[in-house]
Symmetry: C2
Subunit: 186 residues, 2 copies
């Protein structure tokens, strides 16, 4: 029964996600964050607690949007092999200079912020389970333990790839490598 807010909560959170993803927490100051979210200080502190809580919310949005899309892409893929399917998440087009928000958050705030540490661990686990599901679907790995192990390998390879990509490393072709690691050839 009062004046309704003028900004869209969802698009504001997506703006926050984008800027925190690209720049990190500390490197993003309030004016930049406000600009990315499309609102002013007043509206910001009316609607949110502080910068950190928005960062945590941005991680949630990343989980809901980017990770979910990634899982759907993996699950819905009609690639003939597991490596061809998983290769998608290693493609330069899917990588950019922003890296992976999960990995970025782990590195920047993991040791100091328990909430970030817990959230990123959960998100990584979700991503891993999606990878393992791909392996199952293509009949890779004899046992659940083996599939879990290969899932860890692909996940950690992915994080390493994203981290290195932030320094603009060469676009390595991971397709053939994944193929060998998963034992699809050779």
């Amino acid at each position: 029964m009062a004046r309704p807010r003028e900004f869209e909560m969802e698009s504001a959170m997506e703006g926050a996600m984008t800027i925190f993803w690209r720049q990190g927490f500390r490197a993003t100051n309030l004016p930049e964050l406000l600009d990315a979210m499309g609102l002013t200080r007043g509206s910001f502190y009316k609607a949110f607690e502080d910068k950190e809580s928005v960062y945590l919310g941005a991680l949630d949005r990343y989980d809901e949007i980017v990770i979910t899309q990634t899982l759907e892409k993996l699950q819905g893929s009609d690639a003939p092999t597991a490596s061809a399917c998983l290769e998608q998440i290693f493609l330069p087009s899917a990588t950019s200079k922003c890296g992976c928000f999960i990995c970025n958050a782990m590195v920047e705030l993991g040791p100091d912020n328990p909430k970030v540490a817990a959230k990123t661990k959960a998100m990584a686990a979700r991503l891993k389970s999606g990878i393992v599901r791909v392996l199952e679907h293509h009949g890779i790995g004899e046992t659940p333990q083996r599939r879990d192990e290969l899932g860890d390998v692909v996940l950690h390879l992915y994080f390493g790839h994203q981290a290195v990509g932030k320094s603009g490393a060469a676009d390595k072709d991971w397709g053939a490598t994944l193929k060998r690691i998963l034992g699809e050839s050779d």
Copy 2:
């Protein structure tokens, strides 16, 4: 022909390396940096240009000290297999909460600071060549291309492992996994 400096340049740079390694560039403010280096503002700005140049110097020290030690450990190891040798750099004792300074720097400053990007890429290349040498020594990989590829796998696995470790992930045993990836069994 004047008063000599009282502090040890080497120990000061090691202090800088330690704090930047643990906390990153932005999260380390000047008082903390000065404390870690054991000197005051006056001495600091007499001897160094600014915070960034000390950070770059800290990366160099990391290359000279930590990476060199790592390469020596890998080269001087009498482990019976390549996986047993390489497993050393994945051990929890070698991991800590600081992660890998190379990986941390890539993630925090890689996209924004060309000097950091170039330095970290060179350091990563040095580390990778050490890994490849281990593979050669143990006769892993049929061709140089194949060894190079496996070196990339181990390197990226290492970075991913270090990144995840900063959020306090479980201490996965990489020994058995490395063994399988390198084709030493199964």
